[in-house]
Amino acid sequence: MMIHCILLVSALVSTQASMYSITDLKPDHLFVNNMLLRDLIERMGNELAEAAVDSYVDSQESSSGVRGFSDKEIPLEIPLDYEGIDAINPKTNIRDQEYLQHSSLWSHQQLNNYKNNNRYKVKPGAAVKLVASSKSEKTENQLPAYCTPPNPCPVEYNGENNCLVNFKNTAAFSRDYQSAQDCMCDSEHMLNCPSGSDVDNNVPGVSISSADFDQIVERFQDNPYFRGEKLPIAAKKGINVGY
């Protein structure tokens, strides 16, 4: 079992590495990391699955992309991506509405996803499958966050709005406010991070003790938006453009 698992993971790692050109991460690092991640995800199981934010994607079923299926004015045979266009209707045109399938980024993303390719595969006309897959994407796990900044009360808001009334708009105030929290240190942008101390302990290897595990879970803030597919190429600012 373990050997199978290792084989699987290493296969994944190599695929991943070549697809996204991770040149600076050593494969063995990734290997361990992936093991850790998978272990964690499995342990966390489904308790995080019922994301409070699921309604977003649910609500999409009735609109935009899939709308054509329930609206009688629109031909029922609209395919979900280009693969189906020829087979069904060589000239798929919808009056004055924008449709998802006009962008095949959609299918690109599905097909290039390195995990569970089959699960993400979208077949023409498979509206139900589509929705199912988009749901399952969000149920994987949740990941750590940085400190939470203060929430000062905007103009005309007061303490009843769960915001901070006694607030000074200074760097020192925010720094002190955040330093009282037990959160992940942002080593890229903080001069001093508590080096190692409570951190290295949690990376003992592939297996994690139960106590450590609880500790890690506690550290995951309960932010439902953090669930779901992690984007391999994400949109966060960086400082590394060489100019």
């Binding site: 280009y82 095949s104 708009n169 240190c185 942008h189 984007l231 190429i233 949109a235 400082i239």
Partner: protein, 691 residues
């Protein structure tokens, strides 16, 4: 790689996920220490007072200059120079004017014999002499001569005159002559550094090369009742320059899951980006704090969504779909890594959110998504960034203060227009705006700084006409952006006319936004006809792409003509392509329209060494064929630009046409025959008669 963190356990996870993530304003960071030290303290009041004195005059003169058409045919005004037979008192001349149906505006330069008459029944501008009126004056026994004044052109040096709806700003200026605030410069201390709002040649810039916002303000549009969301790392909504323009109800913090998107502290003040973008859009006017926003009476919403160790589809989707009826414009200054080798775009839920935004947002008019084209420089192509390349986003590139493209500019055929950002040798030519913790900065930078300027201009247009749809905004952008003096510093990309007379440049799209022209046209805009989507054709036989020769793929199409969804007038065109190569980055793709417009839909990306994935049904979008007729033969050229021998295979080429069946500008009046609108409209009318 952005993920060099200390070995925190969680960072290990982050590292797996957050492998190459950049933001689009990295220059700010490099200048950060300078900026902090150089906090500008001297206010340079003497310069301000000069601005004051001449502020009104300048605005008036500029608009007057713009107000008069190019002298092809002679233009006549309703003003007359009247010379009396003998020196006369003012009240007598008033009577003489009155009995002939004129109004005496007073003597000319203190003369006792020469006076300025206007005839209120005449239009401000006409192209024929008003002979009866002249005769009427001449026969008056007290009058020696009367000369109807012709209008003529005074262009801003190096500047294209405003060609739309010119008379209205002039009238407004006259109306506001009694010191109404819109007709003078803002008093904010940093306004003098905001060359992108008013370029007087500060720091070696090109005078008049700016967003022409004063012309929009002079028409009374300052962004009232329009909300722009800054999707970023938070907004300092306690900042004195932003707090009263902050829309609390439309804001959210997805990084911390609460309603208050206040930025997270770091030692390097890294999370200042959203605050800086917000100030560009809606910094308050005349409050003595920092500078002024493009739409200084508009509101901003903060959407904090960039500040976590990784990004998820859910965060992006929820951000772009947040309060689509409260938020009019979403401004994004981020995207996939600009490393020149990434090909990525919005994921499942995010794509749905954008589509829903344009179809249903703003109570059905559609949200406006403004996107920074990217900071990848000449080695990247923003058509590989599915956010910027989307038809549903307005992708904005940047020019620097003398009209060159910025060195970090990432170009692509999906860029619609440009605004301004840093990049000149003088480090003080960054974008002046608000900064974290109530501070101000002069060094905001990158195409990140360009996108919010565009969002501000669109906010002005939406105030001028709240019924504009997301497509109207794109049409207005195409029709009112100006070539001005924008140029490619390296001479690679030239300005080219498309098939219906619209000038475009691969780097700048249709040019730099002109706020004055856009609001003027927006005011009298008629929503464009319905949009249709036509799959023009597809080629799915695999062909080899050899090393030294271009592969040509042709699709002949009638653009769904004869069906109810015919596309006769183009908006966006997508070439959906599946392609593999031994080195993806050495590929170049060109798409040529039936009217001969050649778009570079993929440029060489020297850092992209992918040899495996290629492009999989990737939609390469071009805006260059806007307004053209799509019927005929489209040509796709696939070739390698490489030192080493390469080869590849193209598996699929599908052409998608998006546009209208009806001529889009038929219902619009064209006061100025030389405006872009008039040129395209005339082309369309002639095309119709031929057909």
């Amino acid at each position: 790689m952005a993920s060099a963190r200390v070995p925190v356990f969680s960072t290990v996870l982050a590292r797996i996920i957050c492998r190459n993530v950049y933001h689009r304003y990295c220059f700010t960071r490099l200048n950060e220490s300078d900026a902090k030290m150089n906090k500008i303290t001297s206010k340079r009041q003497h310069r301000r007072s000069i601005f004051f004195t001449f502020g009104f005059l300048l605005v008036l003169l500029q608009t007057m200059n713009r107000g008069l058409t190019e002298v092809r045919a002679e233009i006549f005004t309703n003003s007359f120079l009247v010379r009396m037979r003998e020196p006369s008192a003012r009240h007598l001349v008033d009577q003489i004017a009155y009995r002939n149906g004129f109004v005496n505006l007073g003597s000319v330069l203190g003369s006792q014999t020469e006076f300025h008459f206007v005839h209120r029944a005449l239009p401000n501008v006409r192209n024929r002499r008003s002979i009866p009126h002249v005769r009427r004056l001449k026969v008056d026994p007290m009058i020696h001569t009367a000369i109807q004044q012709s209008g003529f052109k005074r262009v801003k040096r190096g500047y294209k005159p405003l060609k739309v709806d010119k008379m209205i700003p002039l009238l407004n200026d006259i109306k506001n002559a009694d010191g109404d605030s819109v007709s003078r410069d803002p008093t904010d201390p940093y306004f003098q550094y905001q060359w992108y709002l008013k370029n007087t040649g500060q720091n070696g810039g090109k005078p008049k090369l700016d967003l022409n916002v004063e012309a929009a303000w002079a028409q009374g549009y300052t962004g009232k009742n329009v909300t722009t969301a800054i999707m970023d790392d938070g907004v300092d909504y306690m900042h004195a320059d932003l707090m009263y323009n902050y829309n609390t109800k439309a804001s959210y913090d997805f990084s911390s899951n609460d309603p208050y998107p206040y930025p997270r502290y770091t030692d390097d003040w890294f999370n200042s980006h959203g605050t800086r973008c917000a100030g560009e859009v809606a910094g308050a006017r005349d409050n003595g704090v920092c500078g002024v926003g493009v739409a200084y009476d508009s509101r901003i919403a903060g959407i904090r969504m960039l500040d976590q160790p990784y990004m998820t589809d859910l965060i992006e989707a929820n951000s772009m779909g947040h309060e689509p009826n409260l938020i009019d414009i979403y401004s994004a200054s981020w995207g996939p890594t600009d490393d020149g080798k990434t090909v990525d775009g919005p994921r499942n839920a995010t794509m749905r959110a954008i589509v829903r935004g344009v179809n249903e947002g703003r109570k059905g008019l559609g949200n406006i998504y403004v996107w920074a084209s990217g900071d990848g420089g000449e080695n990247d192509d923003c058509n590989c960034d599915g956010y910027a390349a989307s038809m549903w986003t307005v992708s904005i590139n940047s020019a620097i203060n003398d009209g060159q493209n910025a060195h970090y500019d990432e170009s692509c055929s999906s860029t619609l227009a440009s605004t301004f950002s840093n990049g000149a040798k003088d480090p003080n030519t960054g974008v002046a705006t608000t900064d974290l913790y109530g501070q101000c900065t002069t060094t905001h930078s990158g195409t990140s700084a360009a996108a919010p300027e565009a969002a501000g201009v669109f906010a002005l247009a939406l105030e001028a006409n709240s019924q504009l749809t997301w497509r109207d905004i794109q049409h207005l952008t195409v029709l009112t952006s100006k070539r001005n003096s924008l140029f490619d510093a390296k001479g690679r990309f030239h300005w080219t006319m498309n098939g219906v007379g619209l000038e475009f440049n691969h780097l700048f799209g249709y040019g730099v936004l002109d706020a004055g022209a856009m609001v003027a046209l927006a005011k009298n805009w008629k929503t464009v006809p319905p949009r249709y989507h036509c799959e023009a054709g597809t080629i799915q036989t695999t062909q080899e792409v050899p090393n030294h020769r271009s592969i040509l793929l042709k699709i002949k199409t009638n653009a769904c003509s004869g069906t109810e969804y015919a596309v006769n007038y183009l908006e966006h065109v997508q070439a959906v392509i599946s392609l593999n190569a031994t080195r993806r980055g050495d590929l170049e793709l060109f798409l040529t329209s039936p009217m001969g417009t050649r778009s570079m839909i993929l440029s060489r990306r020297i850092n992209d060494d992918d040899q495996r994935d290629g492009f999989n049904k990737w939609p390469f979008m071009t805006t260059h064929t806007w307004g053209e007729y799509p019927q005929g033969t489209w040509l796709l050229e696939v070739s390698f630009n490489s030192q080493l021998p390469q080869h590849g295979w193209i598996h699929e080429f599908t052409l998608m046409l998006h546009g209208t069946k009806e001529p889009p500008y038929a219902g619009l009046s064209t006061a100025d025959p030389h405006s872009k609108l008039a040129i395209v409209k005339k082309a369309h009318e002639e095309h119709n008669t031929v057909m």
